[in-house]
């Protein structure tokens, strides 16, 4: 057979490698900052863009899409050409992909801290950036699939299947979850509302974990562990089975994020069943990764790369065992809204994604620069700092999670909540937050050592921009009679379509019933759309990331109903574009905040003073002050447009209401401000705080209404 010569481009892999290092340290430092803010709440100094609610989305987006995103692309651009014996399809598309992705990250960094957000976790970016993500993702997909089409190997190696599944699924998830109607260049509302929005969002959120943080890294595992251990994968047949089972099952599991919420029981049950079944393929992958090292454990002792991989795969196994356990309703009743979830996701992020990335970088850098690693000792120090740092991070948060949950649920012998004051459950876990900071600092110290080590490694060698290889053309290779799974593996486009089919089935089965009931959605007649001022207040709530610490979802437990008020109903949120259920209670649930006579209600003056200085009202509070909300004038210039967009989305405002919205807003603002002035607070009508108070005081009010009055009748 005649051999064809070709070259691999290392330049693009190096670009992505540098980007993952840069954004990794940035994302982790932002994480450390917000961890510090939870123990030093005044640290942000009243600067809006440094506050927890604005930086937390930046941390999650930076770590997921910038650190792990660039990490996966590093691996893909290095491994895919070598596995397929061909250069990437297009160098130009590779460059567009790289620079486009970095531009998107910069755009995220320039918008999220300044409050431009949709308010849906891990999908916060506003619509122009969403469109850019979709376009760049398609560029990546074309480049990957066309490289597969152009290959010189008969068989498509398992790692490539994981990469293709990643491309296909993330494209579907991102597009479906990001369909928003714009109000302006950087403001939009999702087309879904309330419980439907929640279902779509957590279908996306859960599968972002599955197909952005898991499948591409399994692909990397199947390439880099055999390479680093110098032995083939333990069981190739197992890899085929676990691939299909994993992508098929994962897509159904999203509703486990919404257990005990107003989501219908059947959807919750579906989420639980598929989450439990997920243990099998997840552990199939873990076992395959670890057993690849069978007989090579002596190498693990010596090689920091393999050590990192072992901890990564072990962390993957731990997280994917814990995930299904957390999906059991009885466990979830305890874990949800607590720091337990934060601990769980960081076992995945710091352990699985972090360690896989570090191992890959330590393996790759010396090869790209044709040299030896500068210091194995330093890499070992990094390994121990990362491993112990991860434990110092996660273990205290597990304790914090158990503590919070048990304290929230504890009753006295007389049948009263033992800790009726939420702040008691906060101060109890503060020591754990300190230890988390220590763990995070150790982990980041390790990353700084790695950066130094990698720079010194690069300096000690010479960059190899291209590598030559040769292989016979695909057509020249002997034809096997395709049978079984091989038929698929030889046809990348068919394979892609089948992977797409596998992931669509779960989504369709979940979504169709939810959207079919849209016409007869269980509306509660007393639930009315927000007034213009409340809508503006809600946008401030979203802008400042209040949902990152406060839930709006009272679960049907006695402990929650006692603490907050009546449990949440699906029909309450039919006008909520987006939903604001939240996923963490660093502070209390707010969905019954406005119910006069309810356990959560406070007067307007309390809220005003609380936004100005939470510690003045609750001495031990860890909420940051929000002076900008007090000082900023409310920008209500686009209220007519906002009402218009809401009407387009199906919110039943009266005919022509958009033209009266401004007057309505000013009238309601004057009533609230006048009330505050009567209590001796000097405040103008049109400050942001007035709108936010209006929104907060509306929460939960409608379902307690008995007189049938309309929200549009101001008192």
């Amino acid at each position: 057979m005649e051999l064809q010569k070709f070259t691999y481009d290392n330049k693009i892999a190096r670009l992505f490698m540098n980007a993952t290092i840069l954004w990794g340290i940035v994302g982790m430092l932002v994480g450390l900052t917000i961890a510090l803010e939870l123990v030093f709440p005044l640290m942000s100094g009243g600067v809006s863009w440094l506050s927890f609610g604005r930086l937390r989305p930046l941390h999650t987006n930076a770590v997921i899409f910038a650190f792990v995103g660039n990490g996966m692309f590093t691996g893909i651009y290095y491994a895919a050409p070598r596995l397929l014996k061909t250069p990437m399809f297009s160098e130009l598309l590779g460059k567009i992909h790289f620079w486009g992705w970095q531009l998107i990250i910069v755009a995220a960094a320039l918008t999220l801290p300044f409050g431009f957000t949709v308010g849906k976790e891990y999908a916060e970016l506003e619509w122009p950036i969403d469109i850019a993500i979709a376009l760049i993702w398609v560029v990546f997909g074309i480049n990957l699939i066309m490289t597969t089409v152009k290959r010189r190997t008969k068989h498509i190696y398992v790692a490539i299947w994981f990469f293709i599944a990643t491309f296909v699924t993330v494209a579907v998830l991102h597009i479906v979850n990001s369909i928003n109607l714009p109000v302006s260049f950087l403001k939009s509302y999702p087309i879904y509302a309330g419980i439907q929005d929640a279902l779509v969002q957590w279908w996306y959120g859960h599968n972002a974990v599955a197909f952005f943080l898991t499948t591409p890294y399994l692909g990397l595992m199947y390439y880099f562990i055999p390479k680093a251990a110098n032995r083939p994968v333990y069981s190739y047949k197992l890899s085929i089975i676990h691939f299909w089972a994993l992508i098929f099952l994962y897509i159904w599991a999203g509703p486990h994020h919404l257990l005990y919420t107003a989501l219908p029981d059947w959807a919750q049950a579906l989420g639980v069943v598929f989450s439990v079944m997920l243990i099998a393929p997840s552990w199939g992958g873990m076992i395959n990764g670890l057993l690849t090292l069978r007989g090579a454990w002596d190498k693990v002792r010596e090689s920091p790369v393999l050590k990192m991989f072992v901890v990564a795969v072990t962390a993957y196994g731990m997280a994917t065992f814990e995930g299904p356990m957390l999906s059991l309703k009885s466990v979830n009743a305890l874990s949800h809204f607590t720091d337990w979830t934060i601990a769980h996701v960081h076992i995945g992020a710091l352990g699985w994604n972090g360690m896989m990335t570090f191992g890959m970088l330590y393996w790759l850098m010396p090869r790209l620069y044709k040299t030896q690693l500068f210091s194995t000792k330093l890499a070992n120090v990094h390994f121990w700092l990362a491993t112990t740092g991860m434990l110092f991070f996660a273990i205290p948060l597990y304790f914090a999670g158990f503590t919070q949950s048990l304290m929230w649920k504890e009753f006295t012998a007389d049948g009263y909540l033992k800790y009726p004051n939420f702040i008691e459950t906060v101060t109890q876990v503060i020591p754990m937050y300190y230890i988390r900071v220590l763990g995070g600092t150790m982990y980041i110290t390790g990353v700084i050592l790695m950066i130094y080590n990698l720079i010194k490694t690069a300096k000690s060698g010479t960059f190899v921009p291209t590598e030559d290889d040769e292989a016979p053309a695909l057509e020249a290779q002997p034809v096997h009679v395709d049978k079984g799974h091989r038929i698929l593996e030889g046809k990348p486009l068919l394979f892609t379509l089948l992977a797409l089919g596998a992931i669509l089935i779960g989504g369709i089965v979940e979504f169709v019933p939810m959207f079919m009931i849209k016409s007869n959605v269980p509306t509660i007649s007393s639930v009315k759309p927000y007034t213009p001022l409340e809508l503006e207040g809600r946008d401030i709530y979203i802008r400042d990331g209040c949902y990152t610490c406060h839930s709006q979802m009272v679960r049907p437990f006695r402990s929650e109903v006692e603490r907050y008020g009546d449990y949440s109903k699906a029909g309450e949120t039919v006008y909520d574009h987006p939903f604001q259920f939240g996923s963490k209670r660093t502070g209390p649930d707010l969905s019954r905040e406005g119910v006069v006579g309810g356990p959560m209600h406070k007067p307007n003056s309390w809220h005003y003073n609380h936004f100005l200085s939470p510690q003045k009202m609750v001495a031990e509070s860890i909420m940051p002050p929000f002076p900008w909300i007090i000082n900023n004038d409310l920008d209500y210039s686009s209220i007519a447009k906002k009402i218009s967009v809401m009407k387009t989305l199906g919110v039943p405002y009266p005919e022509g209401f958009e033209n009266q919205a401004k007057d309505h807003l000013l009238k309601q603002a004057n009533e609230i401000a006048q009330g505050l002035r009567n209590e001796g607070i000097d405040v103008a009508d049109t400050k942001e705080v007035i709108a936010l108070i209006a929104y907060i005081q509306r929460l939960g009010v409608d379902i307690h209404k008995t007189d049938g009055s309309s929200a549009f009748t101001t008192k």
Partner: protein, 67 residues
């Protein structure tokens, strides 16, 4: 919860949705296992060596991996 359940009951065949889902997966999984088990052992061994370059002297110990 009840109000949603009532609304959902109005969708024809709603109770079959989750069952159909599980059934689709089960059939798919059984076919997959049968097909994978039928792949030729030598071929599988060949596939698992794809990450290695021609010059690599990787460990190919038949007692070490089952493939």
């Amino acid at each position: 919860m009840k109000i949603i359940a009532t609304a959902l009951e109005g969708i024809p065949g709603i109770e079959w949705y989750p069952i159909i889902g599980l059934f689709v997966f089960l059939i798919f999984f059984i076919i997959l296992i049968i097909r994978v088990m039928n792949i030729n052992q030598e071929e599988v061994s060949e596939f698992s060596q794809l990450p290695f370059d021609k010059g690599d002297t990787f460990v190919k110990d038949p007692t070490n991996h089952i493939n």
